[in-house]
Every structure is written in C-alpha cells, then in structure tokens.
Symmetry: D2
Subunit: 385 residues, 4 copies
C-alpha cells in the first residue's frame, strides 16, 4: 500500500491563516496561542508542503510601517530560504479591520475604497517581490444585509474599476502576476457580490484585461450554495479560468465550516481530485481550512497533515478508477465518450439534420447505465476494488 | 387606495403550463382536469394578463404530426385573436418525454441530442410565426446524479454547439428572436449544468453570437441555491443580459415550490420589483408558478390573479419607497449614492492615490446607517409609511 | 395610523449581548466600543423595553471573584432600579471561554462538565436573586464536528444528568425558576445536540422533572434547518412547553444571521406574531439579534427599536387579519375550523366508522381554497386591506 | 477481500415502490414499465434481500374491491411463499390520490380524515395477516403551504386522535404490530407536520399508548433539514424509539433525492452503519430509495444491489474501525469514553461539587484530539488502513 506521504512535487500549499487560526468565532475567543509565521513555514515544510500563502496582515499588523513590516517579513523570508518553501500566492486582508465593515473595493465610502486600493497595491509589490504569481481576491465583505444599502450595479462598476486599475498596475510594473477572484455566497455578509464561480466568471469577461483574471474556487463556498464543486471547477477550466483552488470540507448550506480536505463531502472530494488531476489545472493544491477550535497545536498539525494525505489517497483512487477496465467499459456503456462527438457532423447542415428520421420511443427505452458506473466509482472511493 | 387591477399595459404573462398544471408530482397523480389552452387564454385575458407563453407540448402532444399540431394550434390562435393576447415567449419541452431522461442538448446519446435540436428548430419556426421575440431554454435535465456519468466540459461543448447552431438558424431565417437561458441548480437532476445566473452569463460569453443570448432567471431557482434573486437580476442587467424573467415564490433551499409571486420570500419580492422596475428591464412580467395541488380551478385563478396583484402592490410600494424624502436622506446618509462615484478621480494616477494620507481608525468609527434605511424599506413593505 | 411605540405592557426584553455585541466574527474584530450594561438598561428603557436578560459574563468577567462580580452587578442593579426594568430571564455562558471548546454539560472532559455545573449553579443563585423566572440553556458547543468524537447517547445521559441536578437544585432552593432549552442545529459546532424544537421537547420528557423544563426557540435557529418557526412554536405550545422565545431574523439555511426581528423572513414573522399572540404564550417578547457589524451605536439603537416596532406593526396586522370577516369566511371555506372537530364522533366506534360509505372521487374534486386565504393574509401583511 | 454478497441473515428489505418507481416526477412522465410485485419479490430474493414492504396501493389499485385486492395479493403471496421472503413492514398510501390533497389524518375535511382511518384500518388487517410487525406512517401531505390554512395545534390533536384510535385497534385485535412515524420536513407539502425525528419523538410522548409508537427515520429526510442522520438515530435509540429505518442517499437541503444507500453523503453513511450496528437496533435494514430516472430495469437492479453491497462494505469498515487499536487509543485520548462517567460521583452532593477547585486556564489548554480520531475514521472509510 502506498504510504501517501506528500513531497514537494505534489505542490501542496497552505495559507498561514489556516494553521494560524486562533479559534475566534462569533461565540468565543482565542483557544490557541499565536503561531509565528516562520514556525509555521518550518512545520509545514516538515509535513511535506511546498509553499505557503498569506494575507498581508497574517504576517504584519494592519498599522505597521515599513520598518515594522520588515521586522516581521525578515524571519518569514529566512524561514522560506531555510526550508526552500515558495510563496505561490498572496492575498490582501480587506475584511478584518473595522474600516472594511462595508467591504473594500465596493465600500459605499469612497475613501475606504481608495484605502483598499492602496493596501492592495502595496501588497502586490510584496507579492511580486516574493515571487508569487497568483494574487487572490476574496471580497468577503463586499456585499449587503439589506436590499437598499447597496446599489449592486454601481458596486460592480467599482469592482470592475478596481480590477482594471490593479490589472493595469501589474502590466505597468511588469509583474508576472495573475488575479484569482474567490467567490462566496454569504458570510460574513448577508449576500456577497459574485457569489459563485459562475458570477465571477461572468464578471471577469467585462474587465479591461480579462486575461489577467481568473477564479479561485473554494470547496466550501460552492457547497454553501448547494452547488457541485467539481462541476464548477470543470466550467472554470472550460473557460480557461481556473487559476487557483482552495481545498477544504463543508456539509452543505450552513455556516462556513472550513473543515480539512476530505472531511465533509467525501464523494465530492473524489470528483474534485479527479477533475483537478485530469482537467489541466497546473497550479498549487492549496488548502484553505480551519483546524477546529477543539484542537490544540498537535491537532492543528494533524489536521494539516490530513489535508495532504487525503488528497494523495484520493489521487490514487481517481487514477485507479480511470485505469480500471471495468470502469472504462461502464463509461462507454453510459455513452460518456459519445458526448465528445459533435452533434452535427462535419459538413452537415441543419437541413440534413432535420431530414433525419428517429424513433423516440425506441430511444426512450434505453437506460443510461449510470448507477452501475457510479457504483464502481464509489467502490474505488471505498477501496474495495 | 389603488385597486391593483392589472391592465395590459402592465405586460403580465403566464406560461400555459402554470395554470394548466394538473398537480402530478413524485408522490401523487392528477388533481385537476386538463385545461384547454384556449380556455386558459380567455381566463387570463379576463384577469388582466397581456400575454401567454408555452412549451410546444403544452399545446400539442409530443408525437403530433403537422395536422394534429394545427388542430391544437387553431383554437389557440383564435383565442389569441379574440382576446388580443400576445405570445411574447415560447419554449421547448426537452424534459418530459423519457427520451430526454439524460437531457436534450447535452444528452450522452448523440441521436437524442440531434432529436432535441430538431424539436427546437421546429418550435423556433412556430415561435417566429406567433411573433414571439424571446425563446427560453431551460435545460432541466441537462445534468447528472453522479460525477462519472457526465463529462461537464464535453457537455458545455455540446451546449455551446446547440446554441451556436440555433443562433445561426435564427440569423439565417431572419427571425426577430433572442434566446434566454434559464438557470437552475438542481431538480429534477442532482446537479444541473449552468446552475445559476452567473454560470449562464459566463457561458453565454463563449458563444458564437453572445448578443443573441441572455438569461431568464427564476426567483425560486436562485433562492434554491440560497442566492439573492434581486442581486442576480442586477448583475444580469449590468451585463446587459436580462432578456426575460420568471416570477414566483420559494422558501430557500428545498424542492422547487413554484409558489405564486409574493408568497415565499416577501422582502425578496419587494427588492425584485424594485430592480425590475428601475433597472431598465423592459420585457414581460412573466409568472412561472404552480397553483398548489390543494386547489381546484377556482384556486388556480385566485392564485394567478394573486401573482399580478402582488406585483402591482409591490410596484406601488417600491415607487413610494424611492420617492420618500426620508428614504432619500437615509440613502444619502448610508452613502449609497457615493458608490456611483469612481474610486479614482478623472485624471488621477495610482501614484496620486498612493500619496494620499488616510486615518483608518477615524473612518472605522463611521456607521453605515443601513439598519435605519432597511427599516424604512420594511415599513414601506408593511404599508405603514 | 397607530404609532407603534412600545410600552412596558408589551413586555419587550433584550439580551445585553444583543445591543452589546461588538462585532467580532470569524473574519474580523471589534467594530464598536464596549457597551456598559447599565447604559444599555437606560437606553432600552428609553426605547420602551420592559426587561433585559443576560449571560453571567455579559455583566462580569469569566474569572471575576465575588467582589469583582459585585462591582459589575451594582451599577446594573441601580440601573434596573432607576428604570424599573426587570430581568425576566438569565442564562449562562458555557461557550466563549476556551475551556468550553467541547461544550459544557456534555464535554468529554468530566472536570469541565463539573465546572460547567458550578458556573450554572452560581448563575442560578444570581437569577433567583434578580427575580428571573426563566433560565435559558443554549448548549451552543454541545456537539461535534465528526462522528467518532462524541457518543451521542452518552452525551444525552450527561445532558439529562445536568438538567436533573439543576432541576433538583431549583426545587431544593425553592427558586421560582423554570428552564428553557434553546435548540440550534449547528454553528459554532458542526452538529449540535438537540438541534430543533422537536429534539428538545423529546429530550425533556425523559428528565426527572419535565415540568420544570421547556423550550426557548429562536427564529433563526429553526430557519437554519429550513423549518417553519411558527409551526414549531405551535407544537411547543401543544406540549405546554413554550417557556420563552427568541425573536430575530434569518434567510434560511446559512450562517446564523441574527437579524433584527422583521428583517429576514417577513411572512414567517407575520405567522410568528399570530401564534405568539393567539396561542396562549404569556412570557416576554424577547429579542436575540445582532445589530449588523456595519452599524455604529446609533445603528444599534435603530436596530433595537426596529425589533419592537416591527413586532407591534405585525401584532396589529395579525389582529386585523383574524378580525376580518372576509378572512373568517375564507377560513371557513377552507375548512380550517373543521379540523377542530374530532374525527370520530362522541360514542362512535371504529366499526361504525368502517361501515360508513364515502365517494373519494367526489371528495377529491373539492378545492381547499388555501390560495385565496393566503392572499388575504399577504394583503394584511402588505397593509393593503 | 470479503465479497459483500448479502444473505438473508443480513435482513435487507426493500419497498416495492422503490424498484417499482416508474420515474414520474413534476417535470416528466413514466420512463419504465410497471413492475409486477411478484416479479420484484423474485428479483429481490435473487439479489439477497430477506423481505419486502409496501403501501397498499403498491399492490392493488386505490379503488379495488375485496375480490380485486385478492387478485393482486394472490401472486404476491405465492411469490413470498416461493422465495421465503417476509413482509416485516406495511404502510398505507394516504398521499397519492387527489382526495388526500390536504393530507389524511390531519386533512381539514373530516370525511377525508375518516376515510384515511378506514383505509389504514383495512391495511392494518392486511399487515397483521401478512405477519408484518411494523406499520410505518409517513404523513407526506399532512402539512401546509401557507400559515393560515392549517391550525397546527388542531392538526396535532387530530394526528394524536388517529394514532390513539389505531393503537387501541391493534391492542383490541391482539395484533403484534408497532407503529413507526416517518418524519420529513417538506415536499410534497411546503411544511410537513412532525418535520424531524425530534418532533415525532416529542409527539409520541403525548399519545395514549406511546409504547406502541416509534419512529422510522429516513436518511434523506433528516439531511434535507441539514441534520445529522446518525445523531438522530442515536437520540431515537436513547429514547428506545428506533422501530424501523429508511436507508438512502441525499445531498443536503434540496429536493428529496432518494439516491441508493452509499451515494450521497458517504461519511454520513459510515456513521449511520456504525450506530445501526452498534446501537442496539434489531429491525430490518430497509431501503427506501428511487433508482434514478436515467435507468432502465437493469439499472434498477444494479441500484438495488448497490444499496445492500454498500451497507455490507460499510459494516465491515465500521467494525474494523471499532476494532482498530489505534482508533481505540485515539478514542481514549479524545476522552470519548469519559463521557460515560457520570458528572457527579455516586453519593456526591452539589455542595461537594461546588467546593471543588479547578483551573479553567489549564483545562482550556487541552486539545481534544478529534482531528486525529476523525482522520483514522476517514482512512477506514477510504479503505487505506
């Protein structure tokens, strides 16, 4: 049996805010001591990760001046150098400080929007310096609790303005950076702008530089809307827009659980790994989870290790599934391959098509064979094939 | 007090399948006699509607030949002529017959996809003949219950192929028809392609003739994913893609309830009418609901009348809300108008922006005044202002 | 038009933690300064409330000794005396301190369970001293994120043990106090014990002193499970167990929004007030909401005032609904009253019943008239009747 | 590797309506031919089931007289005799015929309630004759779409009246039959009475013969409310009320999917089998699922076989999980066993308890070790331990 030990070739990355989460929620305070970013880098390196990611204020305080920033960045840089870990992605915290109570780029207050831009520009410079090539934008407080308080179309204008300005800045600076918008339907706001993968993909098309912007879908965020995450990834890939992924676990429409990857919707995780591995995505396998508040630091590391291990287990399983001759036969019997054939033949006209005869009753009698196929998949998940 | 009696100027339309629903569901059979389409036209005309819409098989049977189709269409045409009702929209049933068990345009079976295209082309001809300018496409069974049974990217290829072919056909025929895709997250399939407004908008951008295709969002379908329908309409309008709407009622993530408009999420209905009336949408106010199975035909008409009446009541309320000086002051205090101002001033550079000083702590102390504003909205809904 | 100004006769109460919420959530920190409990009492008195409620640690710190407790309780007592406000309910915070990371009464750690009991006993003494007659128990962290970590049946044993001990203590001390269990399906735990009104009612039946324990249902908690709150209240009343209520607003299955009462599900609020006013409930109309994080203190008070005002508006509407002759006729036509008649007549046997003849087809043709009735209700909500 | 072939000792049973579902839903008609009940018995026997269950009208038509009933029952009896299959449970269809549009026992129409009682009494006689010892009652249409149309407390009175009468009848006839109420939150009604396990358990306590009535929880029904099915079973067992179970699959709050067992929430299925096998439940392992509409009859049998196979696979896994020494150590480290110890020691008084000293800060530093434990469980599910 494979030992499922991650290596850097697996390209697993973690947000510093994940293992560093101290457990504060609406109903309770800190349960774990602060985790030094450099310490986190070393521990994650030991566990087999290849990179870390962060919000600016995961590393230095909100009000840090240049000197203080550097005091915090220095040890992080050294830890990265010592371990060889990379920073493939950086993101900006535009949601924790009370100034962002109504969001950042789409805050009703113009001066806050301007401040949010400045904070993001500073962070882009840092991202470029650290070699990050993806810059995630989660607009967690870009939204509203009530219909009158936000002019959604104006908000989309401002959102577009922000991404257009940031895109131009990246081009002007020659940064090798692309943006990835992270959709979420709600929490902490009642309704959040660009609530799903689809809404973000649609929005990107109206930007000045759509080629610079893709999506960073998170398992739990799509599942909070009852949507199929793997199907969402497939559509993002179809549009050429899957720039980054956030892997974790969730139990359907409820609060954002941020469970470790594999916990939550186990069958969804199987199909997620299947599409990530086979769909042409070549970015980091990034975990955005929260070790439950019940855990101490040992539990934090157990949880982080579990994310990677579960990914590797599922990677083995999905490969075995695709390689299984009985599965291949079942896929063929279910005509899954037939969907790749164009509906109209080359050179065929609609008139030709309309002239064709067809017996719908006979066709209606055909079963699809999906239950047999899905049972094979499930048995691969169970490890009994 | 206004009497809220609809007139044709209000442009209310109903699907024949709404008042004609006989009550069949998974757990029970027919509770109401068939409703003759011509009779439905007359009754809806009497109630104040200006138009009706239909699926092909709402009017004639699935296997009808040309003669039988005309036998059914004749009385419908006469009823339209007699009443002056119009047919602003037509749609195709690609989901009821068992041949569509795996969908139409994205069915794994190529011959079924071809049949679905033929059926739709025939129906486009009929739509054009009847003067319909919108052709709705609800892909109710384009989806899957299990991850292996559908290659989502191939399905999107086929979906695109279908809309590209249909769009070209409309152009070639010179039909004054635009398509409107109706998203839905699930039911009757486990997961449906293009599950939300956003996914459909994103998809449209990759079509050959995106200008021909928009969306037909339904209240309940978005709310089944926990999404804010009015915000979805706003984004569709922002993209210039709100071609048609389906109004009804729903209680959040659960089965598709298709309640009459106004029943369900009452506050959501207020903001829905607000954006429909003020956002530049100029299509029909179309109801896609199901009179509950508890009702006889009197209940069916009471339910249909309620849809229109509730719309008119809410139209009055949203107008009063927008005209209320105290509301206008509250909107201003909440800086809702300030969001319309670009974040960067004309001629300003990012360098200028970055040179600006700002006191985030001071800004963080400002409240947004949203609760006061929302309370005013709620009191307009309640009719106590 | 009525002015909807609350008076003490309306018996509105607020948790100190509601207006005192400083806005900390998973994604951000404090947005509002601490609110002195005595100040809250004065402000709520001015707004028209008749009482306040609190968790022990809303008033004094977790680690306060007797002297420090009294330093905090003194000003509260004075404010109560000055304003005449009462304390109808007290509750214990068994969820904020990290010691309660796995809950209180059902924590896997026995010493924590013992500590939770001590903390609750101390708080019962305080409740009795302040004249509170209801003691709410929300077991917010009594639950689990994963199936193996909690033996649910053992947890119910310990939960029962706790309520049996507390009940006996109240009896032994002669306190005029009843307990009210507050159900919640999830958040902050993945799954919480006694997740709905029903589960709590069932549990209570197995206690040593079921007569001492009822439920404290919260609007949002039931709606997070997609359940109808008013129907839940009706069942609790049917069992004689509606000891207290928590009024607020929510938008279906998602995070716990704690919106002000009236915001959220407006139609649900109408039926909630209808059953609260007509169903024999005689306790406080208690609000457990969170003024959104967007608000400053002015917004806090606007939100609190809105809760009461909306209740009074809806009280007027539900009374008008019940008094409306057309409604009464519609209720009768819908045979709503007929459900009060026993199915078997007095003295009738099942043999008599079985001898009766009946034409189901004729009966099946009868409509229920529910749409007409519900439209009348909706028009009362809209204020257009 | 075990072959996971079911035997009668496994006591798997299926509703005739499961494999016999013809695929009718709100959006489409019949996709499969009628399945003869006798044929179903033979096929299920071949697959390894030990029993079948049915609604009266799964076997004979709604309007059948005694002779016609017997014409349909005869072949069923013979098939049972030929195969040795048993009928452990029978249930009544009070929801398909239009006469039940507003439910059966709680229909507003008294004559319908009386008819529902008669139909149920007849079916009880049949159940007794066939040796069924469990009589399931799913009140699928006992509910409402709107607040005014149903007096919930009166409905509970009538519901109680029905169960009291039926219970007395069973006692009077000396039938060895217990009732099992099947909760469901919604669909096909907007809100259904007794929406969860908890509500049903609470209700049962107020019956004349509570000992005769338990619950029949269905996986999907609880998960439609976002509730944890295994935890619900545990509470039902704690109350001694788990009389029957309905196993299937679901993906959270949405329409009732009735997927085969194992499909849907795979981790939930693991914990479900764990509690069913270890919690003292000794009834049939009953499947209430619907083979998806995509399937022909081969797919139906594949789906049915999958239900049993998945149960056996998971039974193996849960046994291995409980027997695994590392799991046992992890359970101990997580103090799961400590919850079985009473919080107060034997002979200890509350005064003793209150005299104890405790350092909450020290206790607060302890992690629970739940992530490690849950990872072990997940690896058993994956089959990699």
């Amino acid at each position: 049996m494979t030992d499922f030990t991650p290596t850097r070739a697996d390209r697993f990355s973690f947000g510093l805010w994940t293992v560093g989460w101290q457990g504060v929620d609406v109903f309770g305070g800190v349960v774990r001591p602060p985790l030094d970013p450099a310490e986190a880098v070393h521990r994650l390196a030991d566990l087999g990760a290849y990179g870390i990611t962060f919000h600016d204020n995961d590393v230095f305080p909100f009000d840090a001046d240049a000197a203080e920033k550097e005091r915090h960045l220095g040890p992080l840089r050294r830890a990265l150098a010592d371990t060889g870990l990379v920073v493939p992605m950086v993101t900006t915290n535009l949601f924790s400080h009370p100034v962002f109570r109504d969001g950042g780029f789409t805050n009703n207050d113009r001066d806050v929007r301007r401040f949010a831009l400045r904070k993001t520009l500073d962070n882009l410079d840092l991202a470029a310096e650290l070699g990050a090539t993806t810059f995630v934008a989660w607009g967690g407080r870009e939204g509203a609790e009530s219909g009158g308080s936000k002019d959604v179309r104006a908000a989309l204008d401002r959102y577009k303005e922000a991404f257009d300005l940031l895109g131009q800045y990246v081009l002007d600076q020659g940064y090798d950076i692309r943006f990835a918008i992270e959709p979420k339907p709600n929490e902490p706001r009642g309704d959040i702008l660009l609530p799903t993968i689809g809404h973000a993909l649609a929005f990107i098309n109206d930007l000045e530089h759509p080629e610079l912007v893709g999506v960073n879908p998170e398992v739990g965020h799509e599942e909070m809307a009852g949507l199929n995450y793997a199907s969402g990834l497939a559509q993002a890939l179809w549009h050429g827009k899957l720039f980054h992924i956030d892997l974790n676990g969730q139990h359907g429409p409820r609060f954002d659980q941020d469970l470790r990857f594999g916990a939550g919707n186990a069958r969804g995780a199987f199909w997620t790994v299947d599409i990530v591995e086979s769909g042409g995505y070549d970015g980091p396998r990034h975990f955005d989870f929260k070790p439950p508040r019940t855990e101490d630091l040992d539990g934090v590391w157990a949880s982080a290790a579990g994310c990677m291990r579960n990914y590797l287990i599922l990677r083995d399983k999905t490969r075995a599934f695709r390689a299984d001759p009985e599965v291949q036969a079942a896929l063929h019997d279910a005509r899954v391959d037939e969907l790749a054939t164009s509906t109209l033949a080359a050179g065929e006209s609609l008139a030709d098509l309309r002239a064709e005869s067809f017996d719908p009753e006979a066709a209606a009698a055909r079963g699809m064979g999906f239950e047999h196929l899905d049972q094979l998949a499930l048995e691969h998940l169970y490890g009994v094939r």
